[in-house]
């Protein structure tokens, strides 16, 4: 419904020829600019899901947890194989001649400097997760490995990765580090890279709107503008909003537990709602300041603070142990990556299904959000540079991060089997690890601030992404729409937390993770689609 200027302009030679005009299905109630029907269907069904889940909490939780477990346990081979395909696909693209293609055409220049770009990639991709799991996951795998393999009724009953490392501290430490890095390095980032690269390529090079459906154009043709596309976009909005709202809900509890531990603050309902309100309010200010003045600035500040904490712990912690954790952890990762990523014939089923398969579903359910956001800021990078910076550099950073935080924590457990960090609940492990080190009050405070700011950046970038999808790929829609989604996310989190508590959050988070299954199929199709698209462009550029 636009009255475009009627002048013919020369398009890029490889622009996809479609009669679809960006924004043609948009409607403009109250001066807004929203896609019909994606906006209405997604917002109404989100409200309906929240209400139904709260009305039938126990059965909803039971059903979605069953669904998530059913998918991750029965389709572990599928998730693991797909993860490997994504990594291999990206590496092949990076080294092949297709890597030369530049996002936005041969003459495009990068929109952001390396630092700004990288800060945003990391803050959106996994900032918050690293804070909570950087300490806890290495300890879990270390402990289960040290405990050794246990058989019960012909199946492994322990949670250790691969063959475990019964009683061997060094081997358990390396295996624990390798397993953790495996879940946070090449594979998750390759998942993000596939989505981000497809979206960026089909938008910047081929002229399609920046929304999930566009990357299916080579496979579905004009049908992507109809119900096929509506479904893909709506499920993406669904997964993103529930993923964000439930992790904001859980995260509030975790951050409050940390503040209670540090300052003795209350963890009651009022405190929960207040914290969600504060996070949402700051996110709204960030939204109103726009991409550069808001989320980019906060991401840069936060990555600088995270680097400070990293270097600080490296220096004041057990420096020798940390360096050996980084080096031997990294080497162990390189050595074990093939056995860890074997989709078939695994004996360590608890680990490969309960950890790896769950993680892959989780990363994949986040990928529409993170992928859209990465695509938004990656114009002007070549495919090769893009993959290197989105996969290889984060892998190095993850090895460093896990080495410093996980390495320190494992050292504490090795030195003293009753170390506080060992049995502390997930949300307190970071603080218990920092406690025995010098300047614990300062580092813990920095940790809390990092957690809160990562929540703010994901709330902001989440509303940016959902707004773009529900505006049919338009990035110039009125800011009021982003304000709506940002507030909506906070309200959903608060309502779930207050009315339903952990049961409702668990139910909807399990539902969000379950969307990882259909999206795995979507991502595999995206690889095919992206390859076909890149080949066409390469031919037209005379490659």
């Amino acid at each position: 419904m636009t009255d475009n200027v009627d002048i013919s302009i020369e398009e890029a030679p490889d622009a996809i020829e479609t009669d679809y005009e960006i924004g043609q299905d948009n409607i403009t109630p109250f001066g807004l600019d929203i896609h019909n029907p994606v906006f209405m269907i997604s917002s109404i069904s989100i409200v309906a899901f929240v209400i139904l889940t709260l009305m039938f909490q126990d059965s909803a939780s039971e059903f979605f947890v069953w669904l998530r477990n059913f998918l991750t346990q029965n389709f572990d081979w599928f998730f693991l194989s797909a993860g490997n395909i994504f990594v291999l696909f990206c590496i092949v693209l990076m080294i092949s001649p297709l890597g030369k293609i530049r996002l936005g055409g041969p003459d495009a220049e990068p929109d952001y400097s390396y630092m700004g770009w990288f800060a945003m990639l990391f803050a959106a991709g996994m900032g918050i997760g690293l804070m909570f799991f950087g300490v806890s996951e290495p300890i879990s795998h270390f402990n289960s490995s040290l405990g050794g393999a246990a058989m019960e009724g012909g199946a492994r009953s322990d949670w250790a990765p691969l063959g475990a490392a019964a009683g061997d501290t060094e081997a358990a430490r390396n295996l624990g580090m390798a397993a953790t890095i495996y879940h946070w390095a090449l594979h998750p980032w390759a998942i993000y890279a596939v989505v981000a690269l497809s979206l960026a390529f089909f938008s910047y090079n081929r002229g399609l709107p920046l929304t999930l459906r566009s990357s299916f154009y080579p496979l579905l043709g004009e049908r992507v503008w109809g119900w096929w596309g509506h479904v893909i976009d709506t499920v993406a909005v669904f997964a993103t909003l529930f993923g964000l709202a439930t992790s904001l809900g859980f995260g509030t509890q975790q951050a409050l537990a940390g503040m209670n531990y540090l300052f003795g603050w209350s963890t009651g309902d009022f405190a929960k709602v207040l914290l969600i309100a504060v996070i949402t309010a700051i996110a709204l200010i960030s939204v109103l300041r726009g991409l550069d003045g808001g989320v980019k600035l906060l991401s840069e500040v936060n990555i600088a603070m995270a680097a400070l904490l990293l270097v600080f712990v490296m220096l004041i912690g057990p420096t020798g142990d940390i360096f050996s954790a980084i080096v031997s952890g990294g080497l162990a990762y390189a050595r074990e990556i093939i056995p860890l990523s074997m989709p078939f014939g695994r004996e360590d089923t608890n680990f490969s299904q309960g950890w790896t398969s769950f993680y892959w579903a989780w990363w994949i359910s986040w990928s529409p959000f993170v992928g859209m956001f990465i695509a938004r800021v990656s114009r002007g990078r070549s495919v090769r540079e893009f993959i290197f910076c989105v996969i290889i550099i984060p892998t190095i950073v993850c090895i460093l991060w896990m080495g410093v935080f996980g390495g320190t924590a494992i050292s504490q457990v090795v030195a003293d089997a009753s170390a506080a960090v060992k049995d502390a609940p997930l949300e307190l492990k970071l603080f218990e690890m920092l406690q025995p080190l010098p300047l614990a009050t300062f580092t813990s405070f920095l940790g809390i601030i990092l957690v809160l700011v990562f929540f703010i950046t994901s709330s902001d970038s989440g509303s940016l992404v959902i707004d773009t999808i529900t505006a049919g790929g338009k990035t110039s829609a009125p800011v009021a729409q982003r304000v709506f989604w940002c507030t909506f996310e906070g309200v959903v989190a608060a309502v779930l937390l207050l009315v339903g508590g952990a049961t409702a959050l668990t139910a909807l988070q399990a539902m969000a993770v379950s969307t990882g299954f259909p999206f795995t199929i979507v991502l595999l199709a995206m690889c095919v689609s992206l390859y076909l698209g890149l080949r066409e462009t390469q031919k037209m550029q005379g490659g």
Partner: protein, 138 residues
Amino acid sequence: MYKNIMVPVDLAHESRLEKALATAADLGRHYGAEIHLVGVTGVQPGAVAHTPEEYKRALEEFANRLSREKGVGFHAHAEVSHDPAVELDKIIERKSEEIGVDLVIMASHVPGFVDHFVRSNAGYLVEHSSISVFVVRG
């Protein structure tokens, strides 16, 4: 009295601009002033153009066509923004200073529901700039 008149334009809604452009052309002829069209685009494909380069060409052609039709000099100034929805006001303010305009003619709408929450672009300029602003209601 006026030498440089600026008209911020949204190429996706050309019909809403007609009155403002006609006003600008009349004043331009009357005072012998140049008219500067300022358009802001994001880097993502939009309703008007798929790339910033395409957008620039579209705005230039639009300015050329107006120059021919209205008999006054129209100049195109395309600005690329990472986040047009948010940065629009500031870019218009900055461009008005860069070009050294003495009058801004803006197409605006009758205030509606959303305007109670979000200020209009014209409102921002009136509050923040010392340049005269002529708001043309469509």
